[in-house]
Symmetry: C5
Subunit: 367 residues, 5 copies
C-alpha cells in the first residue's frame, strides 16, 4: 500500500508551526502552513437570476472598484485561492471591514471547523477533504467562508477545485441557486465540500478491503502499520466532521439572521449527510478494530502452529533417539546386541513408536 | 455457518455508491442501491370503518384520478414497492406536492432512521429488517413513510411484505385500525417493522448459540470469523434501532400536530419495544465479548497445553539420553562397562529416573 | 460451583419467544414465558385502620361482587399469582377498566422496569429477584403493580412470596402501613422487592469469594467459565435495577398525582437503596474484572514457569550430552581415551558444568 | 506490603449484613456494621462568642435537661460516638423529633454520602477516611451530621477523632468559628473530614511508589496482587468522594435555607478540595493502570528472555551434537576416522561453528 | 531520552504536602510547594494610552503609597514573583481587601484552573507550562490573576517570564492593549500562557517522534518506559487545559460584569486555542496508544521470530541426529555398516533430509 499522504500533516508538525505565534499580539496575521500555491488566485463571480459574470482579478483595488459599482440585487462571490500572501489578506480585511481576529483565523490553517457570527457577517470554517488527481492520496485544506448580505468571500489554501459544478450551475442558471440569495450559495459550497467526504470514505474503505484481503491470506507486520495509517486518516476525517456537525446543526436551527428559512431546510439536509459520514466513519472504525483483533489472533495462531510443529518433532524423535542412545552404550554384556534379530527388532520398535505418536497426534487433532 | 448476507452491504460499499452524487444540485434524484425488484408495484388501499378496497395500479395518473374522487372521510394508503424508477418517484412527488429534498431522501437508501415535519406532512424513515424465506439471511431495506391527513405513502425498496397482517386487519375491519385515522395506520406499519426486529435478534441469538457450542467443544479460527460476522450484523441492527428510538420518542411525546393523543400512547408502546430491542442487543453484544474472551483464553490454554507436553517429553528424555551418551563414550577405562550387571543397573536407573519425573509431574499437576 | 439458574433465561431465548407476537394487532394478549405455576392464585386483602380480611378467591366475578360492596375507606389489594391464564387477565382488565396496552404489558414478561401514568391509575413494572429455597439459584420474575385510589392489583408470574411480612404487618396493624393509603402499600411492595436484591447480591458476592479462593490456589479454565456465569447474573441484576432507579426517582419527585407527599419521602428511601444496589453491583463488576486479570496473569505465569523448566533442563543437559557425544566419536586417535583418568576427568567436568549452570540459574532467580 | 485493611470491608461482606433488614418495616433501626466501640460516647459542646463549655454526658435525659435550659443564642453540638446502641439512637430521635427514615439512615452505615433536607433540618452523610495510629491501615467510618438552627448532632461509628482541632478553635475562640452559626460548624466538620482524604491519598501514593520500585527491580506476581489491593482502596475512596462532591456542590449553590451566604463560599472551597481529591485519585488510577501495563510487559519480556536462552543453547549445541553423532556411527569405512588429524579437525570445526553462532547472535542482538 | 522533569511533580508528591494543612482553620495561609525562588519580586507597571511606567518595588507599603496616589484612568498591574513569603501575601491581601479563601487559594499551588467571582473582583487561576531554557524539560507553575476595575495582581511561583512581550507592547503602546481596560490585560496574560502550551505540545510531539523512530528500528523496554513518561506529561497538560477551557468559556460568554463585550470576543479566541490544544492532545494520546500497540505487537513478533528459529533448528537436526544415533548402535549385525557405500549413502540421505526440510520451510514462508 502506498502510504496516502494527507497534505495537512499529523499533530506534532502542526504544534511546531503554531508555536511560532507565541508572544505576538492578537490579530497579527501569521500564515501557519506550507505555501501550497505560488500565485494567489482571485476569482470574482457576480450573478443574478439570468445574469452571470466571471473574472480573474489581479488586485484588491480592482475588486473594490467593481464591487462598489455593483447593483444592489447582484450577488458577488470572491474566491481567494492561496493564503500565504498575508498582505493581500490584510487588504481584503480592510476593504471588507473584517475583524482582525477573523483574519487571524483565516490564515491560521489549523482551525477546527467552526461558525462565528459577527454583526453583519457569518463566518464559517470547514475542512475540505478530497482525493488527489491520481486517487492515491487525500488532500486536505482549510476553507474559510465569510458571508455578508450581498457578498461571499471564500478562502482556500490552494487550488483544489471542488466548486466547478456550482459555477456551472450559476452560469447556466439551472436549479434554485441563481435565483436565491447569498445563504443558498453558502449552503451549496458547504454541500459540495461534504459531498467529497464520501469519496474520501470510499477511498479509505477500498484500502481497508485490500488490507483485509492481505490479512486473511498472509498477515504481516506491515498490514498492522497500514491499519494504523488508515486509523490516523480516519481520525483526521473525524476531527473534520464532528465539529462541522455542530456548525451545520446551528445553521439548520436558524441561529443566524442571515439564513433564510428555506435555506435552513437545505442546511439540515447537509447536516444529515454529515451525520451519515460520521456513521460510516464509526462503522469503519469498528471494522479496523476487528481487523486488529483478527491480526493479533492470527499472529498468535501462528505462534501456536509453530509450537505444535516443535512439540511434534520433539515428541517423536526424543524417545527414538534415546533408544538409539541406549543401544549405542558400550557395555560388554547387553542382551540382543549379538543377536541376528536385534537390529531389525529395535528398528521395528522405533517405527512402531513413531507411528503410535503420529496416531496420537491425529487423535488430539494436532496433525 | 453459512455467512448470513445482509442485503444492504457494509459501509465501504455504501460510500462508494454515495459518492456518485457529488457535484449534483440538491434535489436531484439518484437511486443509490441495487435494483432490487424489476417492476415498481403500486398498491392502493382505501378504507373507512366498514369499507375496504384494494387495487393494484399501473400509473400515477390512475392514482390521481382515484384520489381526487375520494370522499373526505376515506383513508388512502398508497404502497410503492421499488425505488429504482426515479421518474415515477418524481411524478408521485409532483402529484402529492412533496418537497424535492424529501424525494431525494426517499431514493437515497442510506438514510438513517429519522423523522421530519413538513407543513402538512410527517415524513418517517425506518429500516426494515427481516429474515429471508429460507431463514438463513437477514434482509434489510429502507422504508419511507409520508403521512398527510388522509393519505399515507409508503416507499419500499423491494417486495418483502411484512404488512400483510395489517391489510388483513383493514379488510376484516378487526381491531381499532379501520376506525382510526392515518396516524394509527402509521403506528401499525412502524409496529410491524419493529416486531420483525425480534425475529432478527432471535436469528442472531441462535447463531450465537451455535458458535458458543462450537467454541466450547472445538474452537477454531473460523469461530472467531463467525463471531465477527455476527458482530457486524448486530452493529447493523444497532444502527437501525438507535435513531429509531429517538424518532419514536418524539412521536410518542407528541411533537407533531398530525398525531392524536390516543395514538401517541401506542407510539410510546412501540418505543418501549425499541428499547427492549436495544436492551437485548446490548446483552448479545456482551455475550459476544465474553465469547471472544473465552476463545482467546481457550486458545492460550491450548498453547499452554502444547508447552506442557513439550516440557514433559524434554524433561524426561534429556537426562536419560545424557546417561546413554555417557556410557556410549569410547574411553578404555570406564567402570562398569565390563561388568555383567552394568547394563541392567544403568537401565534400571534410567527407568527409575523416568518414573521419578512422572511422579514429580503428577505432583505438580502437569499430568 | 453449581451453575445458578436464573429462571428467566438469557437474551436469545427471550427474543425467540417474543417474535411469536409479530403480526398480531396491539392489545392482543400473548403470555411470553414459561408456565411457572399451574393454578392462578387470587388473594384478596382488604384493610383499614383496625380492620383486616384476607380471602382466597376462585373467580373474578367473586372479586367484583366483593369489591363493589366495599366501603369507600377500605383499601383493596388483589394479588394475582400466575399470568398464563390470559382469559382471566382479560377479565380483570375488563372489570377494572384497564387499557389494552397495559394488559399486554402485564403478560409480556420481558418488559423493562417502567412506570406509566394512566388517567386514574399508576402502573409500575419491577423485576423481583430472590434466592430459591435451597439458596443455590436466583429466581427472577416480573411483577406488575396497578394502583388506583382504593385498589391495588399485583401480578406475579408464580408464587415466590416475598410479601408475607407485609401481609403480617397489615394483619397486626403494626407500623404506618394499615393507616396509610394505597400509595404506601405500593411503596411497601416495591421496598420488599428491592430488599431482596441485597440477598441476591450477597449470594453473588459469596460465589465470587469462592471463585477467588479457587483462582488463588488452583486456577482452572472452569473458574473462567464460572466468572462469566456470574457476570451474566450481574448483568441481569443490572438490567433490573438501572431502569428501576429512574422509576423510583420519578415516584420520589412526585410526578404522579396518586402519590402523597409523605409517601414520596419513603419512595426516595427505596430510591437510595436502589442506588446502593447499583453501587455494590459496580464494585462487584470491578472485582470480577480484577479476577479476570488475575486469572489471565496467573495463566501466563504458568506458561512462563513451564518455559523456565524447559529452558533449565535444556540448558543443563545439552552441553553435557554434547561432551558425551564428542567422546563417543570413533576416531582412532583421540587424546585421553586410553588414559586411566580420561573418564573420571570428563565426568568431573560434566558435573562441574552442571553445577555451574545451576549456580547461574540461582543467580538469575530462575531456581 | 502489609495489606492495609479498610475497616469497612468490601462489597460482598456488606450485602450480607444488609440483607438482614429484608422484611422489616421501614424505620426499623438495625445497626449494620461491626460493633466498633464498647461504650457510646456523648460529648456535648455549647458555645457562643466568648463562651465555651464541654461536657461528657451519660444519658439522653441529661442532654434534654441541658438543651431546654440553653439560651437561644448559644450553639449546641452533641457528638455521638458509637451507633450500636439502637435504643439510644431512638431516644435521641424522639428527643430531637427526627424522622424515622433519617434515624434508619444514621444506623445503616452503608449509606452513600448524601444530603437530605427535612423541614427545619439538614441531614448530611459523609464517609470519614483516615489513617490508623500506626499509619499502616486506612480507617473508614460513616459520619452523619444533623443540623438544626441551634443544634448540631454528629454521629460517628467509633472514636476516631479528627475533630479535635475544631474543638480547640471553639475553646480558644480563634477564627470565625465561635462567632458564626451552626452552618459554619457543619462546614468545619466536613472540611476536617475532607482534609483527611489528602492524608489517605498520600498513604496510597506512598504504597504505589513502593510497588513501582519493586516492579522495576523484581516484578513478582505479588506486586500484581498488591496493585489490586491498592485499586480496591482507591475504588473505596472514590465511592466516598464522588457523591460527596454533589452534596457539597448543592450546599455551595445554596439550595438550603439553613446555609448562610458567607458559609456557602466556604462550602464551595471544600467542594474545590473534593474536586482536587478526585483529580488526584484519577491520576493515581492512571498510574496504577500504567503499572499494570508495565508489569504485564515486563512479564512477557521475561518469557521472551527465557525463550532466547533456550533458542541460543539449542541452536549452538544441536548442530555440534549432530556432528559428534555422525562421527559416532559405526560404519567401517568412514573417511578421517583413522587419520591422525581427524579428531582435531572435527573439534576445530565444532568450535568454529559454535563461535560463528555466537557472532550471529551478537549481530541479531540476542546476546 | 533524558526524562523531562515537570517541576510540579506527580500526584503522590502533591498529596503528601497537601495533607500538612489538615486541622488548620480555613484561611490559614500555608504555601504548598517547593520554594522556587529566593527573593519575592514585585514589579509594578502603570499605564494609560501614551503613558507607561515600570518599577521594581521592595515592600507592599511602597505599592500602597503609589497606588493611592494614582489617577483614576491609569491602569495598575502588580506582578508578584514568588509565593513562599506568606506574610507578604497576607499584607497584599489586607492592602487590597482580598477574601481569606482567595489568599489561601493563591498559595495553595495545587489548585485546578478555575474562575471565581468576588463582588468587585475576578479571580482566575491558570497553570503556566513552558519549556526550560535548555528546552529539555517542561516547567510548570501556578499563576493566579486577581482583577479589579483598575488593578490587576498576578501571582507567579517563580520567575519564568512569558509576559515580556506584553510589557513590551505596553511600553511601546502598540496594539489595542495600552488603550484598553484591565480586562484586555487579563486576556493578554492568559493568551500568552495558552500560547506557550503549543510549544510544550511541540516538545512532546518531538519526543514522540524520536520514540517512534526507535520503536520502528530497535524496540526496547526503555521505549515503553519513555512512552509512559510522555503519557504522564500529557496527562499533566490535560489536567491544566480541560478546566481552563471551562474558565474561558465562561469568560467568553460574559458571566462577569468586569469583562467588556469587545474583550469577550478575544476571550472566545483564547477559548478556541484551548480547544485546539485539547484536540492536539487527544491526537497525541491516540498516537501514544498506537505506539503502545506497535510496541507490544513488535515484541510478540520477536518472540514469534525466536520461536521459529528454535523450531527450524530442532526440526532439521533432530531427525538427522536420530539417524546418526541409529548407526551408532552397537549391534553386531546391522546392514550396511560393513559396506563401502554405507557411510556416503547415509550422509547423502542426511543432506537430502536437511535440504527437504529447508525447502519445506521456504514453502511455509518460515525462512
Amino acid at each position: 500500500m502506498s502510504e496516502p499522504i494527507i497534505s495537512e500533516q499529523g499533530a506534532q508538525k502542526k504544534a511546531k508551526r503554531r508555536s511560532a505565534k507565541a508572544g505576538l499580539p492578537p490579530g497579527t496575521l501569521v500564515y501557519i502552513g506550507a505555501r501550497k500555491t505560488d500565485h494567489v488566485r482571485l476569482t470574482l463571480i457576480q450573478y443574478r437570476d439570468g445574469f452571470f459574470k466571471q473574472q480573474e482579478l489581479k488586485t484588491i483595488d480592482e475588486f473594490l472598484t467593481i464591487y462598489t459599482a455593483t447593483e444592489s440585487d447582484v450577488m458577488t462571490w470572491l474566491d481567494i485561492g492561496g493564503l500565504h500572501d498575508v498582505q493581500l489578506i490584510e487588504q481584503i480585511g480592510t476593504a471588507c471591514q473584517l475583524h482582525p481576529l477573523l483574519l487571524e483565523d483565516i490564515v491560521n490553517t489549523e482551525q477546527r471547523p467552526k461558525r462565528e457570527d459577527y454583526d453583519s457577517l457569518l463566518y464559517v470554517v470547514v475542512k475540505m477533504l478530497c482525493l488527489g488527481a491520481t486517487r492515491t492520496e487525500i488532500l486536505a485544506e482549510q476553507v474559510s467562508l465569510v458571508m455578508g448580505e450581498r457578498l461571499l468571500l471564500s478562502f482556500q489554501e490552494n487550488g483544489t477545485d471542488v466548486w466547478a459544478p456550482i459555477r456551472d450551475r450559476l452560469r447556466t442558471g439551472k436549479g434554485r441557486i441563481a435565483a436565491s440569495g447569498m445563504d443558498y450559495l453558502l449552503y451549496s459550497l458547504v454541500d459540495a465540500v461534504v459531498d467529497n467526504y464520501f469519496a474520501v470514505l470510499e477511498f479509505i474503505g477500498e484500502q481497508l478491503e485490500q488490507i483485509e484481503d492481505r490479512l486473511l491470506t498472509a498477515p504481516t507486520p506491515d498490514s498492522l502499520r497500514d491499519l494504523h495509517v488508515l486509523k490516523r486518516e480516519m481520525l483526521f476525517v473525524r476531527r473534520a466532521t464532528w465539529p462541522l456537525r455542530e456548525v451545520l446543526s446551528g445553521l439548520g436551527r436558524g441561529d443566524s439572521r442571515l439564513m433564510t428559512e428555506s435555506t435552513r431546510l437545505y442546511m439540515r439536509d447537509v447536516y444529515d449527510h454529515t451525520v451519515q459520514v460520521i456513521d460510516t466513519l464509526e462503522t469503519l472504525r469498528e471494522t479496523v478494530a476487528e481487523m486488529l483483533d483478527l491480526y493479533l489472533s492470527s499472529m498468535s495462531n501462528r505462534v501456536a502452529a509453530v509450537m505444535k510443529v516443535l512439540t511434534i518433532i520433539t515428541t517423536i524423535f526424543m524417545p527414538l533417539s534415546f533408544i538409539a542412545g541406549v543401544y549405542g552404550m558400550n557395555f560388554r554384556h547387553m542382551p540382543g546386541l549379538d543377536s541376528r534379530w536385534g537390529y531389525p527388532v529395535v528398528v521395528a520398535c522405533m517405527v512402531a513408536i513413531g507411528l503410535l505418536m503420529i496416531v496420537l497426534f491425529r487423535k488430539k487433532r494436532w496433525l
